[in-house]
Amino acid sequence: MKYVHLIWANIRRKKVRTLLTVGSFAVALFLFGLLATIQTAFNQGVEVAGVDRLVVRNNVSLIMPLPYSYKERLLQIPGVRDVTFASWFGGYYQDPKNFFPQLASEKETWLKIYPEYKVPPKEWADFLADREGCIIGRTTAEKYGFKVGDRVPIVASIFGGVWEFNVCGIYDGTRTEDDTTQFWFRSDYLEERRTWGKGQVGWYVVRVDNPDDAPAVAEAIDNRFSNSSWETKSETEKAFAAGFVKQVGNIQLLIMVIGSVVFFTLLLVTGNTMALSIRERTGELAVMKTLGFSDRSILWFVLAESQAYAVIGGALGLAGVKLFTLGGDPTGGFLPLFYLAPSRMLLGLMLAMAVGALSGLLPALTARRLRIVEALRRI
């Protein structure tokens, strides 16, 4: 600790160089944080998935419906606690670019299955009383300025026409990672107004008694409906969401490749800077050794210096990402959840320290090996 001022003096020796090295770390960690954020955003569905929920859809594909009559039959399957369903409405507000998911959901069971969403009881009571009511997620409501009491027209690109809804309430998630971009309205209203496909729903969501039994219950459901004209495919919500992530492509690989290119470059740049700055100080280090500083403490000085750059730069970069994510999704609706998880921040900081240690190692060893006589003779 008593050498802190010495290390600090070395850091301040060449201000421009220090600034650049710290800056390189900050930039690299900013990029790391951003990539981690994008990855989290893609995996959001997987991370929020309830362990006790199964998604039951038509075996052919998600766009094929299932009959309404399956609800009672699902409830009879052992291990099933609750069942709800939803249908994809696929409309837009004013312009096709204004995309948010609209779900026609069953009002009696919806919140039983999704306890993570919170709606004020009075607003929910209004929703139950209003056939044309809707509940909107906080993010979407704020983005388009929807308020309780508004009448919102939605262009129905699947069902045709313009449908108007009364905003009864705004829902929030209980965790940061919960999706608050959805728009819910009543399935009985859809059933009443749709001109085709009556008696059909998009998919079912089943809550099981015991999460450990989820795979067995999924199998029991699929067996129950096999060889019927509407076969089902049931899987845990996590597997369902993971399937979607896989369809987008190998995002993970892309992020790893970019991340490694950046860290490799950073390693080269800081290693180079440290080497240069040690070479310049050869005489000085020799004098310090003459004064009695041990080889090992010289090694630690150099390592501590590169570590300081790494930690300061890394912290700055991560703080930058945190600020950036507060501004919300930059792609305009593609990544509804855009935030930097604390675990990723920690990982980033550890990576920065590892790069700092690696890039300082070679110069530090050179400094330790330095022989006083030779170093002083050079000048």
Binding site: V16, R17, L20, T21, G23, S24, V27, A28, F30, L31, L34, L35, I38, N59, V60, S61, L62, I63, M64, G90, Y92, P96, V155, A156, S157, I158, G160, G161, S229, E231, K233, A242, G243, F244, K246, Q247, V248, G249, N250, I258, V261, V262, F264, T265, L266, L268, V269, N272, T273, L276, P330, T331, F334
Partner: protein
Amino acid sequence: MAIPLIYNLRSVRARWASNLIAVLGIAGVVAVFTAMLAMARGFQLTLAESGSPKNAIVLRGGATTEMESVVTLDQLRVIQDAPGVAHDAGGRPLVSGEVFVVTAFHHKASNSDALAPVRGVSDLALKVHDGVRITGGRFLRPGMAELVAGKNASDMYTGFRLGDHPKFGGRTWTVVGIMDSGGSAFDSEVWADNVVLNETYKRPDNIFSSVTARLDSPASFGAFKRAVTSDPRLTVQTEPESSYYAKQSRAVSTMIRVLGFLVASIMAIGAVFGAFNTMYSSVSARSREIATLRALGFGPAGVVFSFLVESLVIALAGGLLGCILVLPVNGLTTSTLNWQSFSQVAFAFRVTPDLLMKGVIFAAFMGVLGGFLPALHAARLPVADALREL
């Protein structure tokens, strides 16, 4: 008088190790930048090439994609008589009613189910979509459970080789042909007979998702559109097929480009720092040399220019190296979920000369930015002090 260029080239060589690091840094940025652009470009071109300007696609009014749209057989008959519609040698109007559905098939690369587009077509499909060629086997026969698989679909999914018998929708099919449309979105599709597909998917008879009409020429579109949108028997909208597909690619290519630019610009700042650091150290190590040049009579402007050239040389070397690094991704085929059609689209990275040019310009920009301050610093060195040092 300008400082000879050979001085900079030799300086670059003399400090090759640290310059090489700067070159590698810039090469990495240029490679990532160009690769991201090549990906967005590939996706965009894949969909853009799917649509022909000579075709008009007709959807139900208000529908944004084929999947949301419904057109009846009665409406199709009206469209057949619209002005501007081309006819084949036998005098049949070239109008194809098509059914578009998505089905989960086993995707080899991710080893999981992926949504694949399945298109039900009429026997006129190959005449209407004239970019599609049958490269193996034959075209499907009407009324049979036969499939023609696009070449990318055939590669991507398990069980879609020529002669395979895939099962879906409660039916066993036979792959009788492989089609190639030169890299467009049709290569990711599987085609079946439209009547059989309707039946398999329990859709009402005589209902199509869309109708594609071949026109005499792109110029006939105006008259065709007026006719189909003003006819009281039709509640449809129409647009040239090329613009329909261009719109389909917009969301995904915008996302790739936004993320690509974001990542590349942050990497660029890092690379500029790296170049800056290298140049700065190289200037301070050379203070005596620079002072000597000044003493010989080279002016400060000459020194600034000379150092800018040096950093530009480093940056351009990095830019070229980056372009070479990115070349192997050209033609690499990958697939993603296109949200508009809610199904997988395979596309190839396209590294085009203009993208490479953009990469090199980007590198030059980084070089000038990274070299400017160190060059100024070099020019400002007090000659007498620098010469006195050591």
